[in-house]
C-alpha cells in the first residue's frame, strides 16, 4: 500500500517536472491554428514539421549552431587546458602564497557577472574584438570552478605515479597531459559537460559583445530575436520549434555524460 503511494508521488513528480518540455515538443508539431486555439489543444491532430522548416530559415539555424559550437567548443577546450595546468600546480606544487592565491581564485567563482559587465564591455571594444566570436570567447578561457574541480581530483592522484614519470625523464608538461589527465577522466568529463552547456546557454555576455551583429549570433540569441519576430505574428508553433532546436544539443550532451556528474559533484567537497 505504501509502495503504491510512493509510486504515485513519483509519477506525479515526473509528469510535473517534464510537463513544460513535453508541451514544447507538442507545441512545435502543431499547426498555427491549433497553437492559437482557445482552450488550448493538447495533442496535435496532424503533427507537422512545418514549423521546424520555417524556423530553421528564420533563425539561420546552421549558422547559429556553428556560432554556438565555436563559442562553447573553444571556450570548453581552453577551460580544460588552463584548469588542468593550474589544478596540477595547486594540488601538487608547494610555493609561497599558494593558499592565498587559491582562495582568491575560488572567490571569483561567486561573483555575479553583471558586476564587471560595464568595464568588460569597454575593454573588449578597446581590444578591437567587439562584435566578434573571439570577443565572446577570450575572457572565459579560464574558469575558477574548473581550477577548483581539477585541484580536488588531482590531489587524489598518487605522488608515486608522478615521481615515477619524472624518473623516466618526462617533462612536467607531459606529466600533466599524459600522466595526470588520464587518471582524472571522470572530472574532465564532468567539466566538459558543465563548461560546454554553460557556454552554449550563455546569453548576457554574447548579447553584450555582439551588439546586434546577427551574423555572429549563437542559437540562444537568434532564439531571443525570434520571439520579437513572431510577437506580432503569434506563431507559437515556430517559437516552440526554435526552443526545441536550441535545447537539443545540451540535452544530448547531458544524456551522454550524465553518469559522471553526480559522482563529481559529491567529490568537490562543496556539499558537506
Amino acid at each position: 500500500m505504501q509502495r503504491v503511494g510512493l509510486a504515485t508521488v513519483l509519477v506525479v513528480a515526473c509528469v510535473a517536472v517534464a510537463f513544460p518540455l513535453v508541451w514544447m515538443m507538442l507545441g512545435s508539431l502543431k499547426t498555427p491554428a491549433e497553437s492559437l486555439h482557445t482552450p488550448p489543444v493538447w495533442w496535435p491532430a496532424h503533427p507537422s514539421a512545418e514549423a521546424y522548416r520555417t524556423v530553421a530559415r528564420v533563425v539561420s539555424v546552421g549558422r547559429s549552431f556553428r556560432n554556438s559550437a565555436i563559442i562553447a567548443g573553444v571556450t570548453t577546450l581552453g577551460i580544460l587546458v588552463t584548469s588542468l595546468m593550474a589544478g596540477y600546480v595547486f594540488a601538487k606544487y608547494r610555493f609561497r602564497g599558494r593558499n592565498a592565491l587559491f582562495a582568491a581564485v575560488v572567490a571569483t567563482m561567486f561573483l555575479p557577472p553583471i558586476v564587471t559587465l560595464i568595464p568588460l564591455y569597454r575593454m573588449i571594444g578597446w581590444l578591437g574584438v567587439d562584435g566578434r566570436l573571439i570577443g565572446v570567447i577570450l575572457p572565459n578561457l579560464a574558469n575558477a570552478f574548473g581550477i577548483f574541480l581539477m585541484r580536488q581530483f588531482i590531489k587524489g592522484v598518487p605522488d608515486e605515479l608522478i615521481d615515477a614519470a619524472r624518473l623516466d625523464g618526462a617533462s612536467e608538461l607531459r606529466i600533466v597531459f599524459r600522466v595526470v589527465a588520464p587518471t582524472v577522466m571522470p572530472a574532465i568529463a564532468a567539466l566538459t559537460l558543465f563548461a560546454f552547456v554553460y557556454h552554449w546557454n550563455s546569453y548576457l555576455w554574447p548579447l553584450t559583445v555582439l551588439q546586434g551583429n546577427t551574423d555572429q549570433y549563437p542559437i540562444v540569441l537568434s532564439l531571443g530575436r525570434l520571439l520579437s519576430y513572431t510577437r506580432s505574428a503569434q506563431n507559437t508553433n515556430q517559437v516552440m520549434a526554435g526552443a526545441a532546436l536550441a535545447v537539443l544539443p545540451p540535452l544530448v550532451l547531458f544524456v551522454v555524460l550524465q553518469r559522471f556528474f553526480v559522482r563529481t559533484l559529491a567529490r568537490t567537497g562543496l556539499t558537506g
Binding site: V17, P20, P112, L251
Partner: protein, 302 residues
Amino acid sequence: MPSRQARLDRHRGWTAAFLLPSVGLLAVFVVVPIGLTIWLSLHTWSTQTPFSSAVYRGLGNFRELLADGPVGRDFRQALRNTFVYAGLSIAAILPLSLAFGLFIHRVAIRGTGVLRALLFSTYMVPTIAVAIVWSKLYSPSEGPFNQILGWVGVSRQPWLSSPDTALRSLVLLNVWQQVGYFTVLVVAGLTQIPDSVYEAAALDGARGPRLLARITLPLLRRTLLFNVVIALINAIQVFEPVAALTQGGPVGSTNVLTYHIRRVGIERSQGGLGSAMAVTLLLSLVVVVSLVFAVNRRGYEA
C-alpha cells in the same frame, strides 16, 4: 636520492608557466574589471568613450541612487525586486530540493533515477528557451496553466501581464529550472551521512519527522547553507526572461538589477552610474551572505 622538496624545487619554473594562463586571464578579465567598476562608480563616464574621458565626481553617483529622483526610484525598485525574487526563489527551492532529495535518496522503488535525470535536465536547458516555453504556458487564453486551474475551479490568473503576479511568475519559472541542480547537491550531501548514524538513531527510537529534525537536517547543514548562497547568487543573475518577455514591466514590477544595470550602463551608456549600481549590488550581496553565515553560526551554537 634527493629529498622530495628538492625534487619539487627543480620544477619551480613550471609553477609560473602553469599558473600564468589561468591566473593571468582571471586577473585581466575579473580582477581588473572589479577595480575598474569601483573606480568608474566615482566618475561620470559614457560607456562609448575611453576610460580616460571619465570625470571624477566623488560619491555623486551613489547620492543619486539614494536621492528622490527617477534614477534613485528605479534603482531602488530594481534592488527590491531582485531581493524579493531571490528570497522567494530560495524559499521555494530549499524545501523542494530537500523533499526531492530525500525522496530520491531514501525511497527504494525503481524510477527515482528517472526523476533525478528529469530534474537535472531542466538545469541544462538554455534559460531563453525556458522563458519562451513558459511565456506560452502562462498565456492567459491559449495557455494550459489557466485551463488546468479552470478544471479545479480556480479563476484565471493574469501571470506575466499584471504587476501583482509578474515577478512571482518569473520566480516559478526559475524554481522549475533550478530545483534539480539543488536536489543533486542534497542527494550528494545525504550519501555522505553514514548508515551507522541512522542505525544508532533507530535504536534510540527516532523515526519520521523526529529523525529528520534531529539527525538528517543538522548533518545536512553545510549542504543547505551552500545551497542558500548559490541559489541567491544564481537568482541575482536572472536576465533572459526579463529581457525577452517583460522588459522589466508591467510598471517596473520585474525590473531586476542585472537587467537594469545593463540598460543604464550599456544601452544608455551611463557607465559611471551603472557602475555605482554594480558596486551597491556587490556590497549588498556581501552583507546578505555575511548575515546568512552569521545566522547559521548562531543557530549552531544555540
